[in-house]
Symmetry: C2
Subunit: 475 residues, 2 copies
């Protein structure tokens, strides 16, 4: 794609729309907008301008301007993405939603929160909880990620088994479409078939089909009892083989997570704290919740028994918040903790049908052995969603890229052979687009292109992410 | 829209694709394909040909033929629709999915059922239950509706409060797109962001964007304990006012239904059986389920207590299947039972935020008084989804259409004023399209048209339903 450069004249027009304070061209101030958490020079690029709109009308004007001038817009939430989705790889402007950070309404009668995209996920969780309500979205990056980014990537997180991914909680969206029209889809009706389901076409479209400016989030009653289990196993395979057993035992746990031995050791280093059985081959972490203590107790006893029958070294039950927080800290620290082993790495987000998790982890182990590299894994075992992470360690730039390309190709091939897919929650962004196209059918490619071209014929909305209009080389 | 007529030559081509036995032109045999359950001459039209494909490849060939010859295709499931969605109002062919009625796989490890669209919803429920599994979709028409039709309309049903509408259980679809390409979206991965969410764009699109030929349905563990409550109230308003209280009491019931006094009397007539407190002003019917008896008991006691504190005449608890079946029979018979009062009627499917249900029912009561007609109501109170039904009784054709048009216009205006929408589960079809367009913004209209034209530029897929390419008069 060929785009125009941001000119002095465009800057002036942006300042007229947004006010001078909301248009940033200072390189130092723009630096943090040149990357996300993907941690690879390949996925960094300085924007030509960063803008900080305060409302949907301003965004609509900016989008119209971008169409007139043929300059790309890269929308950006909290910057915690792991697929370079918010990196302006074609230059142009980064549109940061950081100033649209208001909770507009908490409707206790209808159990809805209506809010702007720049509110952090952690604040959504906290504000709901204070009213004895519950927002079930729970990505590990909740403290820094924006709810708008969660919606744009259809973020998963730790409670998706029972409560579903982000999209399940989204009942309405206000979107600035790629032609600059502000359109509302859905709202507070919990059932609604009065339209095509544009809400869920927008969810997960990573800013390529419009910019989300308002969100109607469904809340639930807060479960009154929660218990967590930390279960060390002697090795990865025995740990992971218990997962399909838990998932078909007749209960619906809130979370079934796993960490392999390298991930446990990294967490121990990072938290600077001894973890129980930290020389175990793997941890399984489970959460159950409910409205009666007995129900929760029966559920965790069922899980505990299954684990013990299948080789668990021990079953720790945490039914108070401080012990629960300690358990989750080790799991949630995964992304940061691995940097203790290798500051640069490549974190993947593959997903397979749950019965195929043992085979997927087995394949990854074999690939690591073949290429003599370390690939620690952790993730959402109950969803079949595995964060396998290739560590660079002390390899030079050239060796690292060679290794990464070869390992990724083999991992992806293994995943597709197991009826899996590239990404369960982190998204495609720019990072996985060529791998995705390699595995799509011609029919699927045509459909992606049809949707994108219908809404964004000038390809100004986050070009080069999720969908290609030209070839990969051109994108 | 101008379409060509079905010619002898087209019939020959269809026979070559499908075999003679699967191409029907006999008027008598086609008669049942000229209508659905909307029960209004306005929404009946004889097809020019009915075809019964046996696989996706045949459908793909038919779709290509329809594009070449510019003849419309109206896909049809069980014919239990209530919005004329399956009626061939522009002539052409009805494509019945009745021969694609196989359950292809029940995957007990991954909790998925993979099946063709022509399986009845009742069979899906039954087959799952036999394996101690649970399909949570539960439309009242389950015995006759096809799962493909449930997906195409995003059917709701009685368990949507806790388990969501049909779309929530759909993780994958094979679709013959309007250009004849067979494309698979999703599959057995429970988290998947490796594409735009085409699955949910297809769900509820009523056959206007393609024909669904295979479905990946998520199953769940069968809840081990279920209890139902039948709660008579002295009048509609006291009954309905308890609903938002139940919905914010900290539990998630499986169902919260209501029936007004006319609906109760109609059910009594239809079932030819005395119902308890059948002179009550209204019934509330609740269901709770769970894995421990105690949990279920606590939940129904909470609901029972709330009802008693808010004017219930009695609280009947049914914790065995035969009493439960009896309670549900009275509610599920609604559509048939009303024909005892008036063989012709107009059943609506409005939805409002749950806190606005009392106001919506109040508005409907006033409209009935103003126009001196009967509008019995029943429905899914916990979802805000109300089936208000205008009875024709002994009015002549002219008076009936005048009445219906005036009453519908006022009901819809009232619903939109209460932040509601036209249809919670029955869909738009042809029946509600002009009302929907009246209340849409220009931006929304443009988006519908953009999606439809991108995929189906010749408008051959179920023209005149959900979306208009020309004006209403042309459609």
């Amino acid at each position: 794609m060929q785009f125009n450069k941001i000119t002095e004249n465009i800057i002036k027009q942006l300042e007229a729309i947004l006010g001078k304070a909301n248009v940033v061209v200072d390189e130092e101030k723009m630096e943090m907008y040149s990357r996300d958490e993907t941690s690879d020079k390949l996925w960094e690029k300085m924007p030509e301008v960063v803008i900080k709109p305060e409302n949907a009308q301003q965004i609509a004007e900016v989008v119209k301007l971008a169409n007139r001038e043929l300059v790309p817009i890269t929308p950006r939430g909290g910057g915690s993405g792991l697929a370079a989705g918010a990196v302006p790889l074609h230059g142009g402007m980064v549109l940061s939603l950081e100033k649209m950070n208001k909770i507009l309404e908490i409707d206790k009668e209808n159990l809805f929160m209506v809010l702007e995209p720049g509110v952090t996920t952690g604040e959504v969780q906290k504000e709901a909880k204070e009213l004895n309500l519950f927002y079930a979205g729970d990505p590990c990056s909740a403290e820094s990620s924006f709810i708008g980014g969660n919606v744009a990537t259809n973020a998963g997180g730790n409670k998706a088994i029972k409560y579903g991914v982000t999209g399940r909680h989204v009942y309405g969206l206000e979107v600035v479409m790629p032609d600059g029209e502000i359109v509302v889809y859905g709202g507070k009706n919990v059932k609604d078939v009065t339209f095509y389901d544009m809400v869920h076409l927008m969810v997960g479209s990573e800013g390529t089909l419009g910019i989300i400016t308002k969100i109607w989030l469904k809340l639930m009653p807060l479960p009154q009892y929660v218990a967590d289990l930390l279960v060390p196993f002697p090795d990865m395979q025995s740990a992971i083989k218990v997962v399909p057993k838990i998932m078909t035992a007749g209960i619906i746990p809130t979370a079934v997570e796993f960490m392999d031995s390298l991930s446990i050791k990294a967490a121990e280093l990072y938290l600077n704290k001894k973890l129980p059985f930290s020389d175990a081959g793997a941890y399984i972490i489970c959460e159950v919740d409910g409205n009666t203590e007995l129900q929760v107790q029966e559920d965790y006893e069922t899980i505990g028994k299954l684990c013990k029958e299948n080789g668990a070294l021990e079953v720790f039950v945490a039914d108070n918040i401080s012990t629960q927080d300690r358990i989750w800290k080790s799991r949630k620290a995964y992304a940061e903790a691995l940097r203790m082993l290798s500051p640069v790495y490549c974190m993947e987000d593959i997903v397979v049908p749950i019965a195929n998790i043992p085979a997927a982890l087995d394949a990854i182990e074999k690939i690591a052995a073949k290429f003599e590299c370390k690939i620690p894994s952790a993730g959402h075992a109950g969803d079949g969603n595995i964060h396998a992470t290739i560590l660079r360690e002390d390899r030079d730039e050239h060796a690292w890229h060679d290794l990464k390309d070869s390992v990724l190709a083999e991992i992806y091939d293994a995943v597709y052979a197991l009826e899996g897919n590239l990404s369960g929650e982190h998204g495609i962004g720019a990072k996985r687009i060529s791998a995705m196209y390699k595995h799509m059918t011609e029919g699927q490619k045509k459909v992606l292109k049809t949707v994108k071209e219908a809404f964004d014929p000038n390809n100004i909305m986050n070009p080069g992410k999720v969908v290609l209009l030209g070839t990969i080389a051109e994108s």
